[in-house]
């Protein structure tokens, strides 16, 4: 069996390697999305954050989303990796990569995957602010 399409990464991960896993002579279009840690959220200065996951459920739910994308869009592959643990401003939090023959389904599926991951996968963001306060989002 191939590596799972949805992965949690406890340490920084390399987008170039993930992208290389999607290379295929049938691909004409590669759409990707990355979430990076911003220095502000809702006007508050962010120092960093921690992502916590319910790993077993996140894996099955993430995989389900990618399988749905493969069924609903005319694409060749779809993958997603999400960080857990402590991140600082500027760090990569999540990557979605989708390949297709043509660009319209690649874009649509990429958007679908990140929207569904944010809505459904059991991962929680704990933000640390300058000044020392912290909060769970949302």
């Amino acid at each position: 069996m191939d590596a799972a399409r949805f992965q949690l990464a406890a340490t920084p991960f390399d987008v170039a390697t993930l992208r290389a896993g999607l290379l295929d002579p049938g691909v004409g279009a590669y759409a990707s999305f990355e979430g990076w840690v911003r220095q502000h959220n809702d006007g508050r200065p962010v120092r960093g954050l921690r992502y916590e996951a319910y790993a077993a459920l996140a894996a099955t739910e993430g995989e389900r989303i990618l399988q749905q994308a493969l069924q609903e869009f005319d694409i060749l592959d779809a993958r997603c990796t999400h960080r857990t643990g402590d991140l600082v401003v500027g760090e990569l939090a999540v990557w979605v990569g989708v390949t297709a023959a043509h660009r319209a389904p690649a874009f649509a599926a990429c958007r679908f995957v990140i929207d569904e991951v944010k809505a459904r996968v059991p991962i929680w963001k704990h933000e640390r602010y300058r000044g020392g306060q912290t909060t769970w989002l949302p």
């Binding site: 319910y54 077993a56 991951v117 809505a119 059991p122 991962i123 929680w124 704990h126 769970w136």
Partner: protein
């Protein structure tokens, strides 16, 4: 009484002060179990803001407690 393991995440874990516990409960279903544990730990989250999972699969609040199962209450997620 049914014995099950309960997992806590994010704000629920902070409120409970523990990541998991083994409970013996007479709750008729998962909804009743949350009501009991909410009273015990002082959770602020209303049940309708949560989802519930059993053995790492989403479940419904009307599901019965199963002996030896692993139950997780899922606060609103914020990945991505």
């Amino acid at each position: 009484m049914t014995r099950a393991t309960v997992l806590y995440f994010a704000s629920l874990r902070d409120a409970a002060g523990i990541a998991s516990e083994v409970v013996d409960s007479d709750a008729v279903d998962l909804a009743a179990l949350y009501t009991q544990l909410r009273a015990r730990h002082g959770f602020k989250l209303e049940r309708d803001r949560l989802r519930v999972a059993v053995d790492a699969t989403f479940a419904t609040w009307q599901d019965k407690l199963r002996e030896g199962s692993e139950i997780a209450f899922i606060p609103p997620v914020s990945g991505g």
